[in-house]
């Protein structure tokens, strides 16, 4: 009973501190995951391959822009995701993920490119009807600090079989240092099917945003 309560507490804790990007940063073993996150100030694509059920390696490209459009960054990196811990509950799952990357960053306010590293952590809690997650990631290079944090919470409108399309409402709050002072808030409609999801939303700066993910093997 105490262990069960501890697991429930972890789920609640995850929901309180929630910060994140996706359901999970990798697919099932031997699968490829491709993902995109596109809005005027943030364009990211990544692909990774699940070497095991807990490890995935891949590559990503990210373009970031300041709110006034005067400053921009382009980051390309090799990435690694690791499921550090999972709690399986009768009606839920909770995870702690390590996410990291190393690559090059360029910008329009400095010359050449710099080596960048981006270690991060994600925690999430999920049932078939509720999803909450939290992530924090450091985007660092010499003289640059674009640390990033996000929180997500959402619910599905109704239960479906896994091979049917399930609509979700997701609310994301995120912030990145160095390029914007704003906290971006984006309510989104997520449609999830067995191999993909698509999210459509408009943020608090009235900018459209589309996310997608597809798993293939």
């Amino acid at each position: 009973m105490r262990r069960y309560l501890a697991k429930i507490s972890l789920g609640v804790l995850c929901s309180l501190v929630s910060l994140s990007a996706l359901c999970g940063p990798m697919g099932f073993k031997d699968s490829w995951m491709s993902m995109g996150d596109v809005s005027p100030n943030w364009q990211e694509v990544f692909v990774n391959y699940a070497l095991t059920a807990r490890d995935a390696a891949g590559a990503s490209a990210l373009v970031m822009r300041s709110d006034d459009g005067t400053k921009s960054r382009q980051l390309t990196e090799a990435t690694y995701a690791r499921l550090a811990k999972r709690w399986n509950m009768p009606e839920a799952q909770a995870n702690i993920w390590f996410i990291g990357g190393i690559g090059n960053i360029t910008g329009n306010d400095f010359s050449g490119s710099k080596t960048a590293v981006s270690p991060g952590v994600q925690v999430d809690y999920e049932t078939t009807r509720v999803y909450v997650s939290a992530s924090a990631r450091l985007y660092r290079a010499q003289g640059l600090n674009h640390d990033f944090a996000s929180a997500r919470a959402g619910f599905s409108f109704f239960e479906v079989d896994y091979d049917q399309t399930q609509p979700w409402f997701i609310l994301e709050v995120r912030r990145m240092r160095g390029l914007t002072d704003k906290i971006e808030v984006t309510p989104m409609l997520r449609l999830i099917h067995n191999r993909y999801f698509v999210e459509l939303g408009v943020n608090n700066s009235s900018q459209a945003r589309i996310n997608f993910m597809y798993i293939f093997d």
Binding site: C23, G24, G27, F28, K29, D30, S31, A53, R54, L83, R86, W87, N88, M89, P90, E91, A92, Q93, E126, T127, T128, E159, D161, Y162, D163, Q166, I192, H193, N194, R195, I215, D217
Partner: protein, 108 residues
């Protein structure tokens, strides 16, 4: 005696030819479509597997064996655990996966 034998043969003939050789596995932590995909993929690749069905709401994975083959419940359990989930219960059943699917969907 001859009549008894004929009656027995006819009686046996009245039953379904072979009862399906399936197992139902109850799994903790299986809450998303991607979880179901992974488990379904792994078990489908096993040699004796004829059909697989995953029901997220009932936390159930149903597996049916090919004709004349036997499912290795330990190996199936190991695949699910290796995929990152917890196996709570495994029970042999005589239904086919199609029947289990119809039964579970009918309960919703």
């Amino acid at each position: 005696m001859k009549k008894i034998i004929i009656a027995l043969v006819m009686g046996i003939g009245a039953f379904p030819s072979i009862a399906a050789n399936s197992i139902k596995v109850t799994v903790n932590g299986m809450v998303c479509a991607f979880c179901a995909q992974g488990i379904e993929k792994r078990i489908s690749k096993m040699g004796a597997t004829k059909d697989v069905f995953v029901d997220l709401k009932k936390k159930t994975v149903a597996v049916e064996a090919k004709d004349g083959q036997t499912l290795d419940s330990k190996a199936i359990s190991a695949e699910i655990v290796d995929a990152g989930y917890d196996v709570v219960k495994i029970e042999p059943v005589s239904q086919s996966v199609a029947e289990i699917r119809a039964e579970l969907k009918g309960r919703k």
